[in-house]
Symmetry: C2
Subunit: 356 residues, 2 copies
């Protein structure tokens, strides 16, 4: 068993370990380790010799060994729900965010992996597994719910984490969020400025916290403008384009009929456009639309007025929020916990009718 991997033998090609390095240089593994880890108490000469040999032999520390010894894995996990119906679901959303996170994490020797909570498994069960296995040093949770047991669980387990989204379950963890509150506020003011009074709000069915943020912002800002809330105008929709189609069906049956709708799912307008067309109606004319979008929005005609977020920057901030929560890092500063919403950018289009 000695010196053997469990992988098929490839005839001599074997992984270089720290003891191979030591033997090769005829020094002790302790010295090699210190050299590799850039410890102060090691001769400059031997240090460079070790580094050189390591590079030549292609030495890379074994993950498991290091993790076991250090008690840390240097792995950061981003938990994704494959069945998530959260807004912004989609590859390009996360890939951008990941890239932003990576750009920060790699500078600290940390490695980002996406953990894919299977749709067949309870999210909390899945989470418990990866936590108990000590698979990662820290986690990022997404698809945050209004009340989210995962948050208190992670807190109990004492695993550093941040959330992408807020929650009523608050253990003082850092969070980042997209400024949906601001989106709804701005949208309402834009619509009102163009003479709209009957403004609908499309909400995701699930208990994602963003739903509550949106509805609260909706009520608050309508009230501030002296417009009474018509509860019928607050409608639930399925995610995706099909949700948009049924949304249109729902909206046009209302009496009075809303003249505009605000939404958070960037795919929704595709269905809305389709649903309107099916009813002989024109987007931006018979129904005004405004909500969160991505570059996919540019595929729609007439142009969609929408809000975008800089996802790369979001990723950067998530990483920056995470780092201080991980102790025994030199740059740690537990005092200030990042909690902020990243700002939106408004992209003007032709999907808001001027009612004047």
């Amino acid at each position: 068993m000695l010196g053997m991997t469990n992988y098929p033998d490839n005839g001599g090609h074997t992984l270089t370990g720290i003891r191979d390095l030591a033997r090769h240089l005829d020094i002790s593994i302790g010295t090699v380790s210190r050299a590799l880890n850039n410890k102060p108490d090691v001769n400059q000469d031997t240090k460079s010799k070790v580094l050189k040999a390591a590079a030549e032999l292609g030495y890379v520390p074994n993950q498991a060994g290091r993790a076991l010894s250090k008690g840390r894995t240097n792995v950061i996990g981003f938990v994704l729900q494959t069945d998530s119906e959260g807004m912004m679901q989609g590859d390009l959303f996360f890939i951008r965010v990941f890239d932003g996170m990576q750009s920060v994490l790699t500078q600290h020797g940390l490695n980002l992996v996406a953990l894919l909570s299977p749709s067949t498994v309870d999210p909390e069960t899945y989470l418990k597994q990866i936590v108990a296995r000590r698979f990662t040093d820290a986690l990022v949770l997404s698809s945050i719910h209004r009340n989210d047991a995962r948050i208190s669980y992670l807190s109990d387990q004492n695993l550093p984490f941040a959330t992408l989204g807020r929650s009523l379950t608050d253990v003082g963890q850092p969070w980042l969020d997209l400024d949906f509150d601001g989106v709804v506020e701005d949208a309402i003011h834009r619509l009102i400025a163009k003479g709209h009074r009957k403004i609908a709000l499309a909400l995701p069915r699930s208990d994602l916290n963003l739903r509550h943020i949106m509805v609260e912002s909706y009520r608050r800002n309508l009230a501030r403008s002296g417009i009474e809330v018509n509860e019928d105008f607050i409608v639930e929709t399925d995610a995706g384009d099909n949700g948009g189609v049924t949304l249109v069906h729902d909206l046009i049956e209302l009496n009075p009929r809303p003249t505009a709708v605000i939404y958070s799912d960037h795919i929704l307008p595709f269905g809305i456009y389709r649903g309107l067309a099916e009813n002989g109606l024109t987007p931006g004319q018979d129904l005004s639309l405004i909500g969160v979008g991505t570059r996919l929005a540019s595929l729609l005609t007439p142009n969609l007025s929408h809000y975008r977020f800089n996802l790369f920057d979001l990723g950067v901030r998530i990483a920056e929020a995470l780092l201080p929560t991980m102790q025994d890092r030199p740059f740690s500063d537990p005092a200030k916990i990042i909690r902020e919403s990243v700002p939106y950018t408004f992209i003007d289009g032709d999907s808001i009718r001027d009612m004047a």
Copy 2:
């Protein structure tokens, strides 16, 4: 240091290890381990006792310890390029594939993680890191190039892997692919059946292997139909909708002008529709379109004739291809290596004009 994690102390809440379990039950850790791993030589009674206690105390084996001891991690990595301009980047491509993979892998106690090759790091360098650290038991590579050094590298390193896409660099690894060859073939025959003779082919700029598959299929099937290839009809395009717009500009300047175009980027037609409109032309009338699509295609009017793939099934097959390559699994069958293209489904639309 004993019994201490590197995480901040949370006052008593400590992770259950195998030795805690042993002490709790007053038996040896060896027995506990055997019980947990369902070894044959352990008393049924003690086994159930151990399992019960494990469940109660929430025991989950430590990843690093297990990996170090077994030489396996039970982690499968899917390598993603964050800057990939591969086709299919876009909404839910990977998430669907992941879900399909998970559905198989979890049954074998394997865990899928997405490894995100940062855009700031050379993909091969990144790959070498995760391989050498023995982070995963197996890998799936995507964005496969015509000649792909990563393939021979993984083969040399003797790490089980499969590729999503074929390559000239062939070390006998299992691969899955979307049947672009079949798409082009079917598209050509459909077009010819409707009287088209001047058929253009839109290719991605990068050296992804799918590009070569498409062009070969294009030549072969045109030849089979006795149509001579006009080299001007084979055009490179940027990815995304903007690529579609410039594609139209390119095509309408050709003399003779093609009557149809085949493409692989599912976003492209959106740009094509736009580009045609800008020139006062009608999709399906002045230029026929057919290619790979996703559910986004349903947003286009006139309806787009296109091909779709079942991404979940693709994921399932990838997992099934991977499993046999990983040795010392009971279900391993190294003899048959899965290499197949997943079939397309044709969705009929109105984007192909009948020239008769």
